[in-house]
Symmetry: C2
Subunit: 376 residues, 2 copies
Amino acid sequence: MYASIVKPTMLLDEGRVRANIARMAQKARTNQVRFRPHFKTHQSAQIGEWFRQEGVTAITVSSVDMARYFAAHGWQDITIAFPANVREIDKINQLAGQIRLHLLVESVAAVHYLEQRLTSPAAVWIEADAGSGRSGVGWDDPGTLHEVASAITSGRRLQLQGLLTHAGNTYAARTLETVAAIHTQTVTRLERMRSRLQEAGFLGLELSIGDTPACSMLEKLGDVDEMRPGNFVFYDLTQMVIGSCTAADIGFVVACPVVAVHSERRELVLYGGAVHLSKEMLPRPDGSAGYGAVVQLRAGGWSEPLAGAWLRSLSQEHGVVQATEEAWAAESSGLGAVAVGDLLGVIPVHSCLAADLLKHYVTLEGETLAMAAIPG
Amino acid sequence: MYASIVKPTMLLDEGRVRANIARMAQKARTNQVRFRPHFKTHQSAQIGEWFRQEGVTAITVSSVDMARYFAAHGWQDITIAFPANVREIDKINQLAGQIRLHLLVESVAAVHYLEQRLTSPAAVWIEADAGSGRSGVGWDDPGTLHEVASAITSGRRLQLQGLLTHAGNTYAARTLETVAAIHTQTVTRLERMRSRLQEAGFLGLELSIGDTPACSMLEKLGDVDEMRPGNFVFYDLTQMVIGSCTAADIGFVVACPVVAVHSERRELVLYGGAVHLSKEMLPRPDGSAGYGAVVQLRAGGWSEPLAGAWLRSLSQEHGVVQATEEAWAAESSGLGAVAVGDLLGVIPVHSCLAADLLKHYVTLEGETLAMAAIPG
C-alpha cells in the first residue's frame, strides 16, 4: 500500500479513529451530556458517518462554508462555533432555512444585525469567555451579558439556547491537575453567568463546553449540557504533551518521502513542509523549535514516536528531521539506515491544521477518504 | 468592491505587483543574469502572464505538481527547486517528455535512481548548501560534490547545468550589510565549488541563486548566471523587517471581516486564522508573538501598517488584533471606531504561505485571479 504514496499524505488508522470516537461518545453518555463533536478537525463526510454510527446527530463546525458542506451531506443540526460573521448573511440565511442552525453571538451589534437580516429562525448561543481571552462575553462582565441576552430575546428570529465556551486555556496545561482546575473554573464561571441570567428571568439556558483536553482527561465533566470536542478524533503531538492521549491513540501520521540524507549532521530532509504540516510549533524540552515527532511506517501501521528524533525546521516544502546519535544508530529503528526514496511518518503538532492542508486521507487499507473542498 | 468580500480574501494591488516584477526583471537585465522567478509564491497562471510580459520564459517551482500546472499553462522551461523526489518518477517522466525540465540533486543515490528510471533527458543542478544548512551538498564537502558530479556525467539522461543554492540564511538578516555579507559568502563558496569541479574537468557550469532579500537589496549580484527570487512578487512583513521592501511595495493584504470588538482590552477578533494566514510567526520587538500587521482598507487600496496594532494570536479561524491606546484612539485610523461587520486588512508574515492557503486573489478592480489547484 505504501508504494502508492508519492507525496505527503495523511495515513489514517481507521480502527484508532473509530475507537477515539466510541470512547468520547461513551464519555458523553456516562456524563449525560449531548455529544456535538467539532467536525473542523476532520472535515470529512465519510468520517462523519463513523460518528453517526455512534448515535451522533448534532455537530459543530468552524465556518459557514463548512456548515454548508456537512448540511449537503445530511447533517440537520449544526452549530457554527465562531462569532457570527454578519458579512456571510446570505449563506447563513440559506442554511437557516434548510437545517437547525445554531449561531454564536457575543455583542448586541451582531444580535441587531441578525434580527434585521435573518429570514428564518436560528438558535443562538451567547459565547462566553470563561478565562481563555479570545472571543466571547467576559465571565466578569455581567452588564454586557445582560444586554446581549435582552437583545436576543426582545427580537423574534433568534432563540436563546444558553452559554457556550471554548476553554482554549487548557492547551497550556501539562498535567491532569491543571486541566481539572481550569475545567472547574470554566464550569463555575459559566454557572455563575447562567445564574445571573436566570435571576434576570432568562430561563432554561444550557451550558456547552468543548476543549479536547478536559473532555479526554476528566471522567466527570460537571454540570454542563453539551460537549463539543473535535481534535480527539485524531489527537496529535500537542495533545500527547498535554496528556489527553497516548501515542497509541494518534489517528493519523503524515507519510513523507525522504529526499535527502545528511549523515554528517544526522539529518534527513523530508518532502513535507509548512504547506503540509502547518507551522504550528511546540517547543522542545530544551526550548528549541519542534514541528513534529517521527515514526517508522511498517505493515499495518506505524511505530511509537522515535526517541531522539524530531522535525527541527519547516520551510514551504522541506521538513528537516534531526536525530540524536542514539536515534541515528538504533538497531531496529535507526534513522541512519533510512535512504532517499523511503517514507517516514510525522505526528503533526496540530492535527486540525495538517488535515486542513492535506485535503484527503488514505486509510491503512488503502481507501481514500475525501474532505470538504471549502471555497477560498 | 469591498462589499462583495465576505470572508478572508487576498486583496491584490496589480499595479504594485507589476512594479515589483518589472523592478526585479530590470535588476536581472542590469546584472546580465537569467531571471527564472520562483512561482511558488503566487501559484497563479494569470500572474505568470505578467511575468511573460516582462520577457520571462524560464521559471522555478517547488513541487512536481506545481510544475505540471504551469506546464499546462504554456511554460516550457521549468526548474523544480527541491531535491528530486524519486517517488514521483512517473510524473517527472511525463514532464521531462513535454518540457525542458530542470531537477535538483544532492546525492549519488538520487542520481542513480534518475539515471535508471528517467525516460527522457532532463537538465540537472547540483543543489549546494552554501551555509543555510537545509538541503544541498555542503560547500565544505568537495568529496561528495565530486561524486555527485561524476555520477551525473557518467550517465546518459542527466545534463549537468551547474550549482544552485537558496541562501535562506539571509532571512535572519536585518540590515543591508548583513544581507550583503551573506550574499558575498554564498557566491564565494559557490565559485569555489565550481572551481573544484572545473579542475576535475566539469566545464561550463552555471551558478544559480535565489533569495528575495539579496536579489531585492543588492545592486550587484556578483558572478552568478541565474536568479530565482519568488517572494518579491508580493513581499510581506518578514521582508519589510529584513529591509527588502517598504510598506509601499506590499502586493496583497488579507481582507478579514471583524467579528468581535473588545474595547476594554483594545482587541478586535477577525475572521482570519491559521487556515488563512498560516502560523508563520515573527517575534515583535518586545519578544511577544506577531502574526501580521494591520491596515485599514480604503478606496483604491489600503493604508500604511497601523503603528501600535498587530495580530497577537491565531487559532484555526480566529485572529486577535491587539492595539495600543494610541492606535485605538487615533483620530483618522483609530481601531476603536471599527465595528462588527467591517473589514480590516492584514499584511501576512509570510505571503507564500498565506497565498497557498487562500486559493485565489481579488484585485482592487474586482477581478478574480485563479491559483493552481494542487491535488492533495
